[in-house]
């Protein structure tokens, strides 16, 4: 309530009385405002920093890693962490620190690619549905309903089993199953933006449909898409990890955080070799958490209406 009162107090006036001063460097572009709001959110900043560190580590894995990724050395099997093997070794004697570093590359890129894929599908379908409406909208929304009704993980498991587990299939399956939210968001945004008078104004000046969509609608619709893409990336990492843990995702010897954990399905490993599952599990948690924090910060920064 109070927020609305304050908004009203601030609304009727120009945001800056020095508007008449000709200084151009204090132009407050929408981008500046977003950055200012994001910066204020300390937790989101922490999330961004952690995420950045994880990304840098993943990129630099070949440089940092002390051993060969797949170097099997049976003499050094199942060793607990030591100064030589920071995270210990696995059942084939591979250095786990090395594999976790490389695993980050795979896990993060599966998340990124899957999320980008769903974004492309979701944005295109959402644009079509929201802009054209009528039967195109009906058909796309029905398809969306169907995909939403899928028992998500069950179908992903089924599909992975049938298509054969691999990195690419994992990306594909996750991408194909998660676009619905983006599609609905874009459609919803388009429906409400379509009502905006600035769209009518563009029409009234004779702007082409392409121009209206490209210049007036999309730039105003991307904020929630970006937010949900971040959050879906977090989900994608979780799903990849789950699939790989079940042996249906990324296949060894390529390491991912999920499949490094796979041996922990055996009670013996789970009980006796905590270093096999604790570090990758923890890293999945940390990376997903930091992505979610960034997403949450973006939500506050990009869409002040949603700011709670």
């Amino acid at each position: 309530m109070m927020r609305r009162i304050i908004a009203k107090l601030l609304k009727s006036s120009a945001s800056d009385n020095s508007l008449n001063g000709a200084k151009n460097d204090d132009i407050v572009s929408p981008g500046k405002i977003i950055w200012k709001r994001f910066r204020r959110n300390r937790i989101a900043i922490v999330g961004s920093v952690v995420l950045l560190v994880l990304i840098v580590l993943a990129i630099l894995a070949p440089v940092i890693a002390p051993y060969e990724r797949d170097a099997i050395e049976l003499a050094r099997r199942e060793q607990a962490p030591s100064s030589e093997h920071l995270f210990g070794t696995d059942r084939q004697g591979r250095d786990l620190f090395t594999r976790v570093l490389y695993g980050g590359r795979i896990s993060l890129s599966v998340g990124l690619v899957a999320s980008s894929l769903q974004m492309v599908i979701g944005v295109i379908l959402g644009c079509l549905a929201g802009y054209y409406g009528k039967w195109i909208d009906t058909i796309i929304m029905r398809i969306t309903d169907m995909v939403i009704a899928f028992p998500f993980l069950a179908l992903a498991i089924t599909a992975a089993a049938i298509l054969g587990p691999s990195i690419y299939n994992t990306m594909l399956i996750i991408g194909l199953l998660t676009w619905t939210e983006t599609c609905r968001l874009v459609r919803g945004q388009f429906l409400s933006i379509k009502q905006m008078e600035y769209i009518e104004a563009a029409k009234a000046t004779g702007a082409s449909e392409f121009r209206i969509v490209w210049r007036h609608m999309l730039p105003n619709a991307w904020a929630p898409v970006l937010i949900s893409a971040t959050l879906i990336m977090a989900t994608a990492i979780l799903v990849e990890a789950a699939l790989s843990y079940l042996g249906l995702g990324v296949q060894a010897p390529i390491p991912s955080w999920g499949n490094i954990l796979e041996p922990a399905r055996s009670m013996v490993v789970l009980m006796n070799m905590w270093w096999l599952w604790l570090p990758p599990g923890f890293l999945i948690f940390i990376s997903v958490l930091s992505i979610n924090l960034v997403g949450d910060g973006l939500r506050d920064a990009l869409d002040p209406r949603l700011k709670n």
Partner: protein, 324 residues
Amino acid sequence: MTEPIVKLENVKKYFPIRGGVFSRVVGNIKAVDDISFSIQKGETLGLVGESGCGKSTLGRTILKLLDPTAGKVFYKDFDIFATQKEELRNLRREMQIIFQDPYSSLNPRLNVGEIVGECLEIHGIAYGREKQEKVESMLEVCGLAPHHRRRYPHEFSGGQRQRIGIARALTLNPDFIVADEPISSLDVSIQAQIVNLMEELQEKFGLTYLFISHDLSMVRHISDHVAVMYLGKIVEISGKKELYQNPLHPYTQALLSAVPVMDPDHKSKRIILRGDVPSPANPPQGCNFNPRCIYAEEHCRNEEPELRDVGSGHQVSCHLVEKM
């Protein structure tokens, strides 16, 4: 006698109502129902009515921003509803619109220069430096500073934003402007600024306005002719003076008497209308004003009145004009 620049013939705009299990069309909201009038060049026609009477829909239909259901609109010699895409795009240079909400009518992601100058690009009139200059001079004409070009809409107050909207509409040098409640979301002290600006611009560029508003006082101030709308129909249309001093339709009379007068000594007899405006989805039989009309007679309930001239261009749609 000046020539009409815009002429409406039996314009209709219905919105289908869907319902039932299969979302079939079960009826129509007759937002604009059989409207004819014309606007003289260089004049302002005020269009008044309460919310939901269809006045904004009419304004948008005239510009073909909404697809018409039936009827014809002539702009100069062009039959607007019959024009093809390309021709319509060219016609858009001459007909513009100013909106009600200075917040939703400016794209928040574009700066003022882009908002005002976009139409120059669209019609291939000016680009780059030349576009910039045109934008700057238009901003000045509308009471803003040239350097505002680089600012974003949210940095401006409501009144300033409305000036930006006007600048955008005028950049293409149009002849005819639909002003859809251009002042209703502004503060009282700012309303006068905008109306004065509109009057100045009219004089300077010879503009013709369709001024849509629910503010009867402002319409009295700015218009030459006034049309009163009720439930999708024009109930009365006349010269301003005539309409305000001698309103003939019972609805117009009630509407005018309902406006609070800023004068503690003012003691006029107020006509209080009964009930609410009926839903346009289900308008009453006969004269659509009859359920709220204190004079209503039997045939008002059965027979729809025609809009007819009662002398010197004063048109009223009421069976009982002669009796009153």
